[in-house]
Symmetry: C2
Subunit: 288 residues, 2 copies
């Protein structure tokens, strides 16, 4: 493996461990974080250096990776980073954001002779920490080929899905499939409990057949136990579903159950469940 000069912008619960995998692999990293103390902590742990602005962090990097909060953060940080990037460098955005903002940043990058890939991830904090994320990439094949081995340091799978925006659109399909599925699982488990069944035993049996899902196998028992401290938070899911519903207004896809579940998540938020994990939908069905 060739050592590369890289920059990583945004050291949140995802970015912090992702950047860590790159440092462990021997790449030369410059990091940036809005709260500088976090960047200092990262450098103390992993080496490399930190920079006071995205442009400074990005200046000498062959590939600049970023993972921030939402569309507005992507716009702001990407614009600043592009101001410092070299010709021919690649900007990779791991944020889950709209396909529209991906295309917008790609145009701004092109104007500065920089390449762009949208590369949202799935696998959550655990996937970021153990380097087993799934990365869905949008962009040009030759650019993808140059970045792929870097992304592979924290991924189980890195797949080019199509042109810029296709990574984000694939992530949206993922979230749409999860939203209604988790609500269905919630209704099933709540029904089982109200019917007086041993819900764990029910899940053991039906997970062998056509009702099986990753959510059933990984969240079923914690839902039965009314525990919702397992990763992806309701606030982030609402952000993602908002992106899905906006995109569907554009492409004409009907999302009746996804829209309903988005509304149900607003009720979870109203109960103070902003940081509960997405399986907390079942709480709305309980008498508490």
């Amino acid at each position: 493996m060739t050592q590369k000069r890289l920059a990583f912008l945004g050291l949140g619960v995802m970015g912090y461990p992702m950047a860590g995998h790159l440092a462990k692999a021997g790449h030369a990293l410059t990091v940036y974080n809005r709260t500088a103390a976090k960047a200092a902590q990262w450098v103390a742990q992993h080496g490399g250096s930190s920079a006071p602005t995205p442009a400074d962090a990005a200046r000498d990097a062959e590939i600049v990776l970023m993972c921030v909060g939402n569309d507005n953060d992507v716009r702001a940080v990407a614009t600043e980073a592009l101001g410092g990037m070299r010709n021919g460098a690649i900007l990779v955005d791991h944020t889950t954001a709209s396909a529209e903002v991906a295309r917008e940043v790609a145009r701004a990058a092109q104007a500065r002779r920089v390449e762009f890939l949208d590369a949202p991830v799935s696998g959550g904090q655990a996937g970021a920490e153990n380097g087993k994320l799934t990365i869905m990439v949008g962009g040009d094949a030759p650019v993808f080929a140059r970045a792929e081995s870097v992304l592979a340091h924290y991924a189980r799978a890195v797949t080019l899905m199509g042109p810029v925006g296709a990574g984000q659109l694939t992530k949206m399909v993922n979230q749409i499939c999860i939203a209604g599925l988790v609500q269905a699982l919630s209704e099933g488990i709540n029904f089982a409990q109200r019917a007086g069944l041993d819900a764990e035993r029910v899940l053991d049996v039906i997970s062998k057949g056509a009702a099986q899902s990753w959510q059933m196998e990984n969240r079923g028992k914690t839902m039965v136990a009314d525990k919702f401290d397992f990763g992806f938070a309701v606030d982030w899911m609402r952000k993602d579903l908002g992106i899905c519903l906006d995109a569907a207004r554009g492409n004409g896809a009907a999302l009746p159950v996804t829209a309903l579940v988005d509304q149900l998540y607003s009720r979870v938020q109203a109960r103070g469940g902003n940081r509960w994990d997405t399986s907390s939908l079942i709480r709305l069905l309980r008498d508490k």
Copy 2:
């Protein structure tokens, strides 16, 4: 294995192959079917004998198994069968029906010193044919112990879920989990296609993560291809969801997405999709 005298009532797409597995295992079978020609065909293929009424078929059997259409069929056939059954024999109902009718038949059986198990199956026609059904049983443990090895001839798993009715309630949980999940998958695939993505590739990628489900892996590609000839039909799903919704009125479980999907299936029926498989929900999202 001890050879047993058995009766099988109802030789539909499920019962016909299930009874066949019992014959191949060496049990002495008497079969009954409402349309007698089907029973004659079964005897020609498998040996054993047929009887003109449920009571005649059941007369000498140690275990009487049945698989018919709906609650009313269960009431009618079980009542007739009980009229002929010996003291201490066991009546096993494989029909997907309400827990209420299971309890009703169990009471009628007890009055005649006959044991009863409700034992709905999942795994569909393919599972019945290759002997790999999942059987969810309600009843008393000693009765279950006597019947278990017989049911095992056509099952991958036979599990006692609780008292009479618990088999049916477990099957309902299974159907509730499937209904919303299939709608979510439909919305995801349709979104992917309208967004211009390669939907098959999207499914390959996201099925490695938290959106994964049996339905995604086994029906995703046929849904993309607009093919709906893969087993469990919309008419049967609506029957089952009707049972779920009735039961939920009794136990207080809210089923908002399940109820919505039941309504969506009524629209599939209105388009002539009575015998399309359950994944045909996606057709409602398409412009045809």
